[in-house]
């Protein structure tokens, strides 16, 4: 057999040449079209029946600021309750104990199966079912006094959130390799310690994006608590426009605040993701 020549002829030298930039005509055209549409919408709103001075005046009004603080307080507390419930229910759901399993499944079924606004109304009107509540012989009170708009909103939003969060947590725990659980057992860990030390920290990495999603949903779902008189931002905006009839202006005010809050949450989520990505290649190096 003949020895192969060093390199075959007939292939031109391309070193030093660059791939030309593509013109992307369609991108330019579609961008221009979108700009035109946006300008048209902006013009329409500018000429519409909106008093923009009201928007800027009420954007930082005391009642609105109190409202957004109440919105955030409720969202954070309800999410905290939802996460605690979610973790507990997810652990119950994955336990070998059929009683715990059924209780967890029933909880999720009940609170995902009914509308949130209905649950809020039920909590708020609990006094109609139980005029007095308490522990027999120890403490009792009239339900109307206990079930304030704040407590009703917290229970309604938090318990509902727990049902959704439990499924997110369950997915996260299932995503951790079974070998991790076996390795934890092999060094003498019981089920709960293995969950706390080994499984949950790894599940967190997977669940943060959907939990972030859930939290953003919850921030906006707090507006439903306006129907039970909880003074969150939409409720307060409504109270103002009942008085001055500037409906659209105040709805825009509330809308801007929601947008601002959600815009701040996204980078916070990124920081959290980075924290729990410890040990994964993309951040370890």
């Amino acid at each position: 057999m003949k020895a192969a020549p060093a390199l075959a002829e007939g292939f031109p030298d391309l070193s030093g040449m660059h791939v030309a930039r593509e013109p992307h005509w369609f991108r330019w055209l579609s961008a221009a079209l979108i700009v035109v549409v946006l300008v048209a919408i902006a013009r329409a709103f500018a000429g519409g029946q909106i008093e923009w001075s009201y928007v800027s005046r009420f954007l930082t009004a005391k009642v609105i600021l109190e409202g957004i603080v109440n919105t955030m307080v409720m969202a954070v507390l309800a999410m905290a309750l939802g996460i605690v419930l979610g973790v507990v229910v997810a652990i119950m759901r994955l336990s070998p104990n059929p009683v715990l399993k059924s209780v967890a499944a029933g909880y999720t079924w009940l609170f995902r199966g009914t509308p949130l606004i209905l649950q809020l109304l039920l909590w708020f009107n609990l006094a109609l079912v139980f005029p007095t509540i308490g522990i027999p012989g120890l403490w009792s009170a009239r339900a109307v006094d206990v079930m304030t708009p704040f407590l009703a909103a917290l229970l309604g939003l938090g318990i509902n959130q727990g049902a959704y969060t439990s499924e997110v947590m369950r997915a996260g725990m299932l995503s951790v390799d079974i070998g991790q659980y076996e390795a934890a057992q092999a060094i003498g860990m019981g089920r709960l310690r293995a969950l706390r030390r080994i499984i949950l920290p790894q599940a967190m990495r997977v669940v943060i994006p959907p939990i972030g999603n859930e939290f953003i949903g919850l921030v906006k779902a707090t507006s439903l608590a306006s129907v039970i008189q909880y003074p969150e931002v939409l409720h307060n905006a409504e109270n103002i426009y009942y008085a001055n009839s500037r409906v659209i202006e105040l709805l825009i005010v509330a809308g801007l605040w929601y947008l601002l809050v959600v815009s701040i949450l996204t980078p916070l989520q990124m920081l959290l993701e980075r924290r729990f990505a410890r040990g994964t290649l993309q951040f370890a190096r």
């Binding site: 991790q180 076996e182 390795a183 092999a186 060094i187 003498g188 860990m189 920290p201 410890r278 040990g279």
Partner: protein
């Protein structure tokens, strides 16, 4: 008179219809290095997992250091132990997995000190210096602060061995410790295991590394279809097998 460290008596295990272990009986003596060989599905891994109760047995009994595992006998009946008691029994064994199973969110050092600190409740400082010594022993003194994802397969497995040793077990179980490794990384793990064997550790090793078995094992056990076919010194079982099935297996793998 010495007693066996592990006494396995008439152990059976089914997975659904499949019988993984058929009334297996076996003794492992203190200081002994036993290699379990056989085709996949022969029950050797199942037997190993039964010894540290990652798999529960259907019938028979396993005694570790004189203590019946998983159940307690009382008045002619067996009662299952609590999870806590089983976890306590597991502390006597160290397990090394085929796929390492290091905790990916913890550094090499944190992986090693997790068990002694969290489970045995020992002091962090004291455990830490022991862990560094163990890392040195497996040749990874410089990798204490590396995460598993930053280590090669061979390095991860050596950390896993150190993690198991940190619990000060009386018995080390190895489940195909080199099967998931690139060929050039097998030697470094086997070297650590060999050093461990020479230090007098009692070891049960499920392996396909016949060279390792020949060199290090005090006894080689060949399993097929859930039963022990042949057992004896490495020289006998690997060099001059008596059973036809052993001969067939050895000629297939070599």
């Amino acid at each position: 008179m010495t007693k066996p460290l592990v006494a396995i008596r008439s152990v059976s295990k089914h997975f659904g219809e499949f019988q993984a272990l058929k009334t297996v009986s076996l003794d492992v003596w203190p200081g002994e290095v036993m290699c379990l060989i056989g085709a996949s599905g022969s029950g050797k891994t199942t037997l190993l997992r039964c010894v540290n109760q990652l798999t529960t047995i259907d019938s028979g009994g396993i005694w570790l250091d004189g203590e019946l595992l998983g159940v307690r006998e009382e008045g002619g009946r067996l009662y299952r132990l609590t999870e806590r008691q089983i976890a306590q029994q597991r502390l006597k064994t160290g397990m090394v997995f085929q796929r390492f199973n290091l905790f990916p969110h913890k550094t090499a050092l944190e992986n090693i000190i997790e068990g002694p600190v969290q489970v045995q409740g020992r002091k962090s400082d004291e455990v830490r210096s022991e862990a560094i010594e163990l890392l040195r022993r497996v040749g990874l003194a410089t990798k204490a602060d590396s995460y598993p994802a930053q280590l090669s397969g061979g390095q991860q497995q050596r950390v896993a061995i150190a993690r198991a040793l940190a619990m000060k077990p009386m018995l080390m179980l190895f489940d195909e410790p080199t099967s998931a490794l690139d060929p050039e990384l097998v030697g470094e793990v086997l070297a650590v295991m060999k050093e461990l064997a020479q230090s007098g550790m009692t070891m049960m090793v499920v392996t396909h590394e016949l060279g390792f078995a020949r060199e290090v094992a005090d006894r080689v056990v060949y399993m097929d279809q859930g039963a022990i076919v042949e057992s004896g010194s490495a020289l006998d079982v690997l060099g001059a097998p008596r059973e036809a099935r052993t001969k067939a297996f050895l000629s297939a793998v070599i």
